[in-house]
Symmetry: C2
Amino acid sequence: LQASAKAHSNMALIKYWGKRDETLMLPHNSSFSVTLDALYTTTTVAFDAALDHDILILNGREAEEKAKLKVSRFLDIVREMAGVNIHAKVTSQNSFPTGAGLASSASGFAALACAASKAAGLDLDGKALSMLARRGSGSACRSIYGGFVEWQKGVKLDGSDSYAIPVASPEHWPLSLLIATVSDKQKKISSREGMAKTVATSPFYNSWLNTIEEDLAQAKAAVQNRDLDTLGKVAERNALRMHATMLSADPPFLYWQKGTIAVIREVESLRESGIPAYFTIDAGANVAVLCEPSHAAQIKEKLLRLREVQNVIVSGPGPGVTLL
Amino acid sequence: LQASAKAHSNMALIKYWGKRDETLMLPHNSSFSVTLDALYTTTTVAFDAALDHDILILNGREAEEKAKLKVSRFLDIVREMAGVNIHAKVTSQNSFPTGAGLASSASGFAALACAASKAAGLDLDGKALSMLARRGSGSACRSIYGGFVEWQKGVKLDGSDSYAIPVASPEHWPLSLLIATVSDKQKKISSREGMAKTVATSPFYNSWLNTIEEDLAQAKAAVQNRDLDTLGKVAERNALRMHATMLSADPPFLYWQKGTIAVIREVESLRESGIPAYFTIDAGANVAVLCEPSHAAQIKEKLLRLREVQNVIVSGPGPGVTLL
């Protein structure tokens, strides 16, 4: 009745933005990501008949009510699948500092899905694990696999065709991603809220959806060909279009800070000086820079020189979720 | 054969973004602006049979080739209208420093249209002047009138229904506009080029056009009612959607600098503290802040405290073009 798992975070190169079902976490569009070896979560789940409520220890301390509720609801799904009805103690540790502006929900729910299902006696394959992780946080479904991963949006109402599939292994292409954190402020608008506002009010949202299939096909082909220029340009185009849908919402909203622009301009200037570097920006102010591993140290140094950059984490493609 | 005119710049609250005819300067969408009393251009045109080419003196020095060519082509239109075929000396002076990141084409071509047509013996009314100024720079057609001005896009191929009309006088509403300059760098992509790229490649452009009529109606009603909250919110929404069309172009482009975000965030924080302030951003990095005159000094001080803000010019609604 106890199991532990380790899962890595992922960075979307074709972004997930907008849900067609808030409960089942079904997206309006397919997405594509790279799993990150530098950022991971290790989680232990122990079901225990002696407990009268679920316990969540996050990075060594008892978690806030909101996080506890989210995890308990997720455990309810696992309990129902396994026919188990006892509470659990969940102990979860991130490899990266909390409050560093780095989202831990993808690695967190991927690790939790793996550990909780195993502890409950289930033996789920990758597809089932991906669908389960998706229920905790959409992007977590991609962290089940390592390397380059596609989340196929699916069309069915019950979500049974909405899960991730591996596209290329981490070894296929040791691309570097530099995650520049520029703000540790709590986001005023959560991703969930931002997506909902965008879907409901942006006149550009349908046009955004129409761009995805072509971008996704180009991104996957670029990964197969290890073509950084093509992948980088598609990633920039897709990320900026996602942010454009937020700017066009009513009322508009904007996750960027000064540092976001500073990193964008630095990437432009690197490229002008002949160093291939491309950026992507999640629903937040931080910027991830894609480059060849041979340029990573030099680019990290450049980014750290920017006044608004607090930290730069260098990562390569990481592995999928594993039981410990 | 000589005349002088003075015209004021204007700030669009509903932006002009995209041409349906590059030669006649016909826009895809109607726009709405306030003429600015603090920023103006004074221009003298003297047709002189002794000249063997046009001369352009801009802010006391001979202008660059590109500006000279633009003015000569504009004078050709006036010469054809008036049946005059001699060259002219044009002397033009802006009230604001060049290179301050402030566009002078609106006030410049409005003053030139007025002075050149008069010097050539034409006696044009407001509508004809507006259509003429439009040929030099689209937004110049709005600077013919003072106060709050609408540029009706028109639908005719010859542009004969594409001109500005006055909506409310400067005295109707002494709104303040604070223009915060954050960058004196030359824009890498001119407005003309940016519009053309957007029209050609943005999947969001048609949706942008579909938003204009409603925003325009709301903005005009807000001016009639002197309703700063409604006008400010429409202006922000419209400006951010214009910038969203650029972010969605292929390849994407972005006029913003760090200071752009700094001013946006300052405006948000002013509003949170109960001071009504709203922003708009032209095709560049500078930000204009709308507020009640009673708050202008306080907001100016706040903006000047931001590291990235170089200068703040306070303006009210200004008059239309006048012969001197």
